[in-house]
């Protein structure tokens, strides 16, 4: 399973769709990590993500830590379902959400 990513001037825009669960991440985690290594900033559009589990949260946190030394990770337009989980876990206070 591939992810839809566009890189321009070092800024990587990624649109994730569907469910970000442990099974999904087995396939995309390495690709995301590779994108983080070569980008100065990552914008993660999560408007079409209906569901995120702790595996997805771990992915967000590790990407956040990697990008903190550069221009950062931005979570763009999280869906209501994603926002609920970010709020419950306090990740809304750690991540940059726009």
């Amino acid at each position: 399973m591939a992810i839809n990513a566009v890189v321009k001037d070092g800024v990587c825009s990624i649109k994730l769709t569907g469910k970000i669960d442990a099974s999904y991440l087995l396939d995309v985690q390495d690709e995301l990590f590779d994108k983080a290594l070569v980008s100065t900033k990552i914008i993660l559009d999560m408007s079409q993500v209906e569901y995120i589990s702790s595996a997805g949260l771990r992915m967000l946190l590790s990407t956040h830590k990697t990008m903190a030394k550069k221009d950062g990770l931005v979570i763009l337009n999280p869906s209501e379902g994603v926002m609920q989980i970010l709020n419950i876990t306090g990740f809304n206070k750690v991540l940059t959400i726009e």
Partner: protein
């Protein structure tokens, strides 16, 4: 009275979709809202993935999932059974969600989510099996 269904699958993260499909089929005739459905799926994922990652160490084992739906459709009981290492996830220290920032440790986050999103959680160990039951009230 209630309706009860059961599946047994290999405890492997690649089988997560089987668990979700099983629960979706249990809920298919009910008209529950998407948030409740997602929360149920999330609880199921966290418990199942815990079994996959920790119950059997480097060995392979099975997980049995039962779904018991009350006849009035207002309550769902999901029970997860494995014959791995005895482990009560409920009694573990709560994750401290206030310890934010770069140093944040996120072990225990999955079971924290299950506690937050379920209506009741119980664990017992018997006949060589871990038995974890998640109760969710349905709208």
């Amino acid at each position: 009275m209630s309706t009860k269904k059961e599946i047994t699958i290999t405890a492997n993260i690649r089988k997560l979709q089987c668990v979700h499909d099983f629960i979706a089929s249990t809920l298919s005739d009910l008209h529950i809202d998407k948030t409740t459905e997602n929360n149920i799926m999330l609880c199921a994922e966290e418990v199942f993935v815990n079994i996959c990652c920790y119950a059997y160490g480097d060995s392979e084992g099975d997980a049995t999932v039962t779904a018991e739906l009350a006849d009035d459709g207002k309550e769902l009981l999901l029970t997860f059974i494995d014959s791995g290492i005895p482990f009560d996830p409920i009694s573990q220290d709560e994750v401290d969600i206030d310890s934010l920032g770069e140093q944040r440790e996120i072990g225990g986050l999955g079971i924290y989510l299950v506690k937050q999103l379920s209506d009741e959680l119980s664990y017992r160990y018997g006949n060589g099996c871990n038995v974890l039951t998640v109760k969710k009230l349905l709208n």
